[in-house]
Symmetry: C2
Subunit: 137 residues, 2 copies
C-alpha cells in the first residue's frame, strides 16, 4: 500500500489510518491532504484512528502537524475513534495532543464540524452576506 486514501464527504474530508505509519507515508499523507483541501475547498478534516492499537509520539506529532496545516488552510481537524487503551497510554506517556480536537466517533466528529461551520457562517452573517461583501469591495 503506497498511500492513505482521503474520502470527501460534502464539505469534509475523512482519513482512516489503518496501517503502520512510516516517514515516507506520513509525508505523502500531508502532501495529499493539503492539496485535497486546496482543490476541494474542504472546511474540515476527520482523522479516524479506530484501527490503531497504539499511538506513539510519531503519530502524535503527525496528527498535530496535519491539524496545524489544515488550520492555516481554514479547515478544522477532529481526531475520532480513539480506542480507550490508546487514550490511557497517551496520558501515561504525557502526550496530551494539545490543540487537537477529539470526538468519540466519526458521527459525533462530523456533527461537531457541522455545528462549528454553522456558527462561523452565522458570525460572518451567512454565506449570502459573505458573497455580497465580496461584490461590494
Amino acid at each position: 500500500m503506497d498511500r492513505i486514501p482521503i474520502l470527501q464527504m460534502g464539505e469534509f474530508l475523512l482519513v482512516t489510518i489503518q496501517v503502520d505509519m512510516h516517514d515516507q507515508l506520513a509525508l505523502l499523507l500531508q502532501d495529499d491532504l493539503t492539496s485535497k483541501i486546496e482543490k476541494s475547498g474542504a472546511r474540515g478534516v476527520l482523522i479516524d484512528i479506530s484501527a490503531l492499537e497504539m499511538v506513539d509520539s510519531f503519530i502524535g506529532r503527525l496528527i498535530a502537524n496535519i491539524s496545524a496545516m489544515s488550520r492555516i488552510l481554514d479547515a478544522e481537524t477532529v481526531l475520532v475513534g480513539m480506542q480507550p487503551a490508546v487514550a490511557i497510554t497517551l496520558v501515561e506517556l504525557g502526550l496530551s495532543l494539545t490543540g487537537v480536537k477529539t470526538a468519540l466517533n466519526v458521527e459525533r466528529g462530523m456533527k461537531y464540524l457541522q455545528a462549528a461551520r454553522t456558527d462561523s457562517l452565522r458570525e460572518n452573517g451567512g454565506p449570502d452576506a459573505e458573497a455580497a461583501h465580496g461584490v461590494a469591495h
Copy 2:
C-alpha cells in the same frame, strides 16, 4: 493491523479497504460487518477501495460475499472509489462483479443509498405507516 475498521455514518456503514487482504482478515471483516449491521440496524454499506491498485478474484469474491450477506440482513452494499486501472483489469480478467452496485466515490454512493432508502420508505408508505402496520398485526 489486525482488523479493518467499520465506521458508522447515520444509517450507513463505511468500510475502507487499504491493506492487502488475506483469508483471516477477510473472515474477520465479514464477521465484524454482519454483527455491526445487526447491532446498528444499518440500511446500507459503502465499501471504499480507492486505495487498492489491484483487485483480484479473491477480493472480488469477498465483495460479492459481503454484498450477499448484507442483503440478507436488509442492507444494500455499494462499492465506491474504484481506480480506472482496476476497472480495466476487472473487465479484462472477466470479473464483472455482477450483482454489486458501484459508484464513483463515497459521496455519490451515499446519495444513491439515501435515494434508495427514501424510495423504499415511500413504497412501504413511510416509517409511520410501517410502525402502524406493526401495531395493527
